[in-house]
Symmetry: C2
Subunit: 471 residues, 2 copies
């Protein structure tokens, strides 16, 4: 258990360092961030010092505690400067959780007049959350020789990490790719005309598929086709498996079923909705293509930027974007949601079941990335869907009980669980914010974002008595 505390301490120390950086860069909010850094650093240092050296490794079940506690700790510490600045405790926690889970839902309005130090902190939280998710998911836990967790079981069914050998080297490689993508993205944003500040902040929230922007009009503040297409490309890149980049770079092997599935899905959905938009509203084809590509990619990759209020395109667009919220990017990426690997396996299983009726004795093996899907992976995927659906229903139900209307309750629950960001409807839609909701609703959504990011089972297992007997 000491090790869990120790890692949390390290994370607090790292966050304190970033807070100091923020304080140094933005004098207007230097006081807030210096104070936060002091508190965070002291707590983190104390935790790390007290537990340093006193641990003997991590038992299998403790990884669940580790993962859940990291995100909780980070969200609380991340909320500190926001609270010290001016926000209510619940709002600050909501905003920080939305940041670290790379959801991108916001309770803040008047972003255009918000101090740059605060806006940069929001972007930094998403940057940390994005890489944190990949590293914890793929690299840290194999280092610790632990497994068995839903998240990592599905990751490791990809087996790419093992191909690449040493997990520490792999974690380092991931970090390099992540930083390189962000740098490239920032550069292109700068070339396209963004200020240095905006280019940096948006590069962080694009590649992490986070979606925090620096204006109430989100990415719509940049009326530039070039910038929007750059964002499209880098949102997609953030949603591709980071192990795949390393494989392409080191082994020159491009082939990946989930990458192809994601790209084809995006192409098909964008083509259909653009066509529909052009035909129904007369928007010129290229404009429609850009509008649709940006917003569809934003939702499918679970980024959550918007360049326009697509819910005003009509009921079909509302239904379409609601459905797209279920999609998600690739496993092993910064993207949240259900993810294309699970959809591929589920659809293949359903197809195999239908085919079995006319040919009951035919042997059907479900394959993914060229390998047979083993029974435990299959049951992991199935239980993910089951628990996802039940969590979604409970959350929507609870939000309804708090008085939210049907659309807001259902799409709010969904967008928090899939870490997309905007919901649908007038309140929490792409043009709205989560500010008007009550504190109880916000706290439920905080729980939803954490459950979604940690793929539910990680958190739910902590609620079983058997876990605490065994841990």
């Amino acid at each position: 258990m000491n090790f869990v505390v120790f890692v949390n301490g390290l994370i607090l120390l790292f966050m304190a360092a970033l807070m100091l950086l923020d304080a140094a860069l933005f004098p207007a909010t230097a006081g807030v961030f210096a104070t936060s850094a002091l508190i965070t650093g002291m707590v983190g240092g104390a935790l790390a010092l007290v537990t340093y050296g006193a641990f003997t490794g991590l038992r299998r079940l403790q990884t669940f505690l580790l993962t859940t506690s990291i995100w909780l700790t980070a969200a609380i510490a991340g909320a500190l400067p926001l609270y010290l600045w001016s926000m209510s405790p619940v709002d600050a926690l909501f905003e920080a959780t939305s940041g670290f889970t790379t959801t991108g839902s916001t309770v803040m309005t008047g972003l255009d007049d918000t101090p740059h130090g605060i806006l940069m902190w929001r972007a930094m939280m998403q940057m940390m959350g994005g890489i944190g998710f990949i590293v914890v998911g793929i690299a840290l836990l194999p280092i610790l020789k632990v497994g068995g967790m839903q998240l990592f079981r599905t990751e490791s069914s990809d087996k790419t990490d093992k191909e690449l050998g040493n997990a520490a080297r792999f974690a380092f490689g991931t970090l390099v790719v992540y930083a390189a993508l962000m740098a490239l993205c920032a550069m292109l944003y700068r070339i396209g005309g963004m200020s240095v500040f905006n280019a940096a902040a948006h590069a962080m929230t694009t590649v992490s598929t986070g979606g925090y922007s620096t204006s109430d009009s989100s990415f719509g503040q940049f009326d530039s086709a070039f910038l929007q297409w750059v964002a499209v490309v880098f949102m997609v890149m953030g949603a591709l498996p980071f192990a795949w980049y390393l494989r392409v770079l080191l082994r020159h092997r491009l082939r990946s079923e989930q990458v192809m599935a994601l790209l084809w899905t995006l192409a098909a959905v964008i083509a259909c909705i653009s066509l529909w938009l052009t035909l129904t509203t007369g928007t010129p084809v290229l404009d429609a293509l850009r509008l649709v590509a940006f917003n569809v990619v934003s939702v499918i990759t679970t980024t959550g930027y918007a360049t326009t209020d697509y819910t005003l395109w009509g009921p079909f667009a509302v239904a379409a974007f609601f459905m797209l919220t279920f999609a998600g990017g690739c496993t092993g990426s910064t993207s949240g949601g259900v993810k294309s690997m699970r959809w591929i396996i589920l659809l293949r299983a359903a197809h195999a079941e239908i085919r079995k009726i006319p040919l009951p004795n035919a042997v059907s093996t479900i394959r993914y990335e060229g390998r047979k899907v083993e029974d435990d992976v299959m049951s992991g995927v199935i239980s993910y869907f089951t628990i996802f659906a039940l969590t979604l229903a409970c959350l929507a139900f609870a939000l309804g009980l708090l008085g939210l209307d049907f659309q807001t309750a259902l799409s709010g629950a969904l967008t928090s669980l899939t870490n997309v960001g905007p919901g649908i409807g007038p309140v929490i839609g792409p043009a709205g914010s989560f500010a008007p909701l009550g504190d109880s609703a916000k706290l439920l959504l905080v729980a939803g974002m954490l459950l979604g990011r940690l793929e539910m089972l990680t958190v739910l297992v902590l609620l079983t008595p058997a876990f605490w007997r065994e841990v």
Copy 2:
């Protein structure tokens, strides 16, 4: 294939007989029903005569054709008198399909002024649909020595039919129970003050969990606590497995997991929502209990009557009734929807998966009704949920594309697939009707009702090329 045509012919002949009965009872619409009976009887007689004796039994795959074609034939023939009376072809088909699938969605308004012959025909269609579903599902196909179909696989996992021996005897027993329940229900309705006509029509649509009423205010036209409680009891009885009645009557064995699960769920949901209604609106406890019990039972058993517009109770009630639409009654009953057996198995599988994390080597057997759930039943349940969710999404998406608003599209797709009847929202909610929808939307919902009643796989298998190669 001849046998399929033959059975369809018999069903048309039976329907022609009922049309003649309707013509004899209600002079105002005698012409319409006599003409319909003539056409239906001639077509049915021709089909039956041409194929009589020329068949050599039914091959396994042809049962899928048989089942799907029966409902399609019945719906088309059932629409005939409605069309001859005054309705448009699409409206007539919608109304008849909604009748035979015991959904209960209606496109008719002004029911209070509609000729009794037409209203009785709607009730008769639901009566036929209800018993048809049980007999086809449990009795007919075992007689024909066929299996392998999702619907019958889940039914026969109950094994009750086999315990009761001979399938023909069992079909007869089911028919007797069905008729007895209807007679008892009609008697109690009459005692409670309904006219003979209303008692008969409502008994037919209560026990079949159909939900057609004889007034635009649905069951709300009867402002009698006694009548409403009678309806509650008989809706629940229609949603219990008919094999269970026979077992109770013949073997005096009451124990049934899915019956207990349904009753406990009903009790818990009714208690919660009644409490909430009393606390938030100050409705007296007994009134709240009756209001809630009636409408909750109506939705969970997939009947679809309403005594009030519960969507006006507030956003929580909307969310709650939307969720309840997913529930469904027991397998082997007249009820549609997902059904409690599938929910029990799914929840147990999810629970087993969470328990496996702390104790990865523990052997977990999922049991249902005291028996181990075999792998093929489990994969049948899983693929049911998958295909259900995908069909729901596609249907809602298509309705959205036709211009329906989000709530109407989603709840319309859901209520048609689960054969409940009313959706939520101002258009198709319990106080509305499906009349304002366009023809394309109505036809999509017709497809949804049929897919739902035939449990999807039955119909979808007809779309695979392998089926047509093998059949």
